[in-house]
């Protein structure tokens, strides 16, 4: 009797957890399918090579927005990766207990700040003094979002590296900074790169912090101190416009954006897998 009951519970719970697992993957699959359904027909070579056309003219693309997004993500990464990785290294190896606590707390709070706040901040410290919207301000706002993510994942990943590797390096008579940079950091590389990819994917899709920093631009980029187009901005602008043609372009833009993010993270993972010898 009890045995039958146990078995029944087992079956029910198994199906329930399977259901929950499917339910949680369903949104991603649905979103992807919907994007492909709505956007695929508008994605063509022109989309990648041409500027947006004026209202009413068919065709055109988002080449400037794709390039703009890449430039601003690059700008943000140039700042956020070194700062985040070195900061994370410091947090993981820190000896003074107070300072790491402060940095960690700040990073966690920053992680929770709505992204539009970073936009306002960048607007105040860069856009107002420069008296113009610029790619620089956009990259800066994105870097602010990226730093705490990279910092915290780097710290976590370095903490996972057994202390004995560090001691082995020190035992060879290597200075601490070399042990950290050449032995500990590479041992945590896979996780750190994943963290960086997650951060890049996150900022690739950010719209709010770019609204009043990079602003958007319908032309090719004209310098880092000028307004610049970005995919999410363009998608936003096109999606709220009253033209069917623009709506189709917005769908295509979303599809391209999500594909670019997927490709970069896949590429990064493959690159790591090849360089780290099998365990």
């Amino acid at each position: 009797m009890n045995d039958a009951r146990r078995r029944a519970v087992n079956v029910v719970m198994s199906w329930l957890s399977l259901g929950a697992a499917l339910l949680s993957t369903a949104p991603l699959i649905l979103i992807l399918a919907f994007l492909v359904y709505q956007g695929a027909s508008s994605v063509n070579l022109d989309f990648f090579l041409h500027l947006p056309k004026p209202v009413g003219e068919p065709g055109g693309g988002m080449a400037n927005a794709i390039v703009g997004s890449i430039i601003m993500i690059g700008l943000a990464s140039c700042v956020a990766i070194p700062v985040g990785v070195l900061g994370g290294l410091y947090l993981a190896g820190g000896r003074d207990p107070r300072m790491p606590w402060l940095v960690r707390f700040t990073a966690d709070v920053l992680n929770g700040v709505p992204s539009i706040v970073f936009g306002i901040f960048a607007y105040t410290v860069l856009v107002l003094p420069m008296r113009r919207f610029s790619a620089l301000a956009g990259g800066f706002a994105l870097a602010l979002i990226m730093v705490p993510i990279v910092l915290r994942t780097t710290e976590e990943m370095i903490r996972l590296v057994p202390r004995t590797f560090r001691e082995a390096g020190l035992g060879l008579g290597l200075p601490e900074w070399k042990v950290d940079l050449r032995i500990v950091l590479p041992a945590a590389r896979a996780g750190i790169v994943t963290g960086i990819m997650v951060a890049m994917a996150r900022i690739a899709g950010e719209t709010a912090p770019l609204l009043f920093t990079a602003l958007g631009n319908r032309f090719w980029h004209q310098g880092l101190d000028q307004p610049m187009a970005a995919l999410p901005l363009q998608i936003y602008a096109y999606a709220i416009a009253p033209y069917d043609d623009w709506h189709r372009q917005a769908w295509a833009g979303a599809l391209v954006l999500i594909t670019l993010v997927l490709i970069t993270s896949l590429a990064a993972r493959l690159a790591i897998r090849r360089r780290v010898p099998a365990r």
């Binding site: 000896r95 057994p162 004995t164 590797f165 001691e167 082995a168 390096g169 020190l170 035992g171 060879l172 008579g173 290597l174 200075p175 070399k178 050449r182 032995i183 590479p186 041992a187 590389r189 780290v276 010898p277 099998a278 365990r279």
Partner: protein
Amino acid sequence: MAFGLSIKDLNAWFGSNHVLRDIELSVAPNGVTALIGPSGCGKSTFVRCLNRMHEVVPGARVSGRVLLGSDDLYDPGVDAVQVRRRIGMVFQKPNPFPTMSVFENVAAGLRLAGMRRRSQLAEVVEQALRHAALWDEVKDNLGKSGVSLSGGQQQRLCIARALAVQPQILLMDEPCSALDPIATAKIEELMLDLKKELTIAIVTHNMQQAARVSEWTGFFLMGELVEFGTTKELFRTPRDPRTEAYITGRFG
């Protein structure tokens, strides 16, 4: 002729925890000195004081003198990094660097210290691997990952890695506790070979091992060095009743 170590009035702390008290002993050159005692008696901390590794742990502190030849390793002007170049260390669990090949592991100490010439590195690596009795097993697979070797091979790889920087002293902290008897025998044999050129201090849980490989033995208990003497004397005619109780298996 290798150098020995003489340790005078050594005390060590973790925070306010006094873990080593007034240790005095000498590690004879070109010999093997074994340190035995129950878990937590301070023997590992003791060897970690000898290459200034103890102070790496936050809150850890040392006082006293450790003389290598005539140099006091705890002299304020002495750099811990330089000390560790002269005094190598092998750890309890084999710990080859996971992202490096066999070759890179052995070359790590020199390469990261700035030696660039490939031919010179290759020579040192071969010599170190031969010294560690590992060369014949890995010479065709120097590019393979260090962690793909067996446990015993990994430990010999770690010994080779330590030997490559040509230390004068080799500290071994329970180097065989994670290995099977065959791998253990290989490492013991290796130690007898190595002591022709350098000085070895080994921490071990295994009293038979101490008896087999060492000329001198120290018995630690609760942070104190209870007895120190030739291995023969210490095991045959211990002076202290606590030593006798320990080596006859009546406690610990």
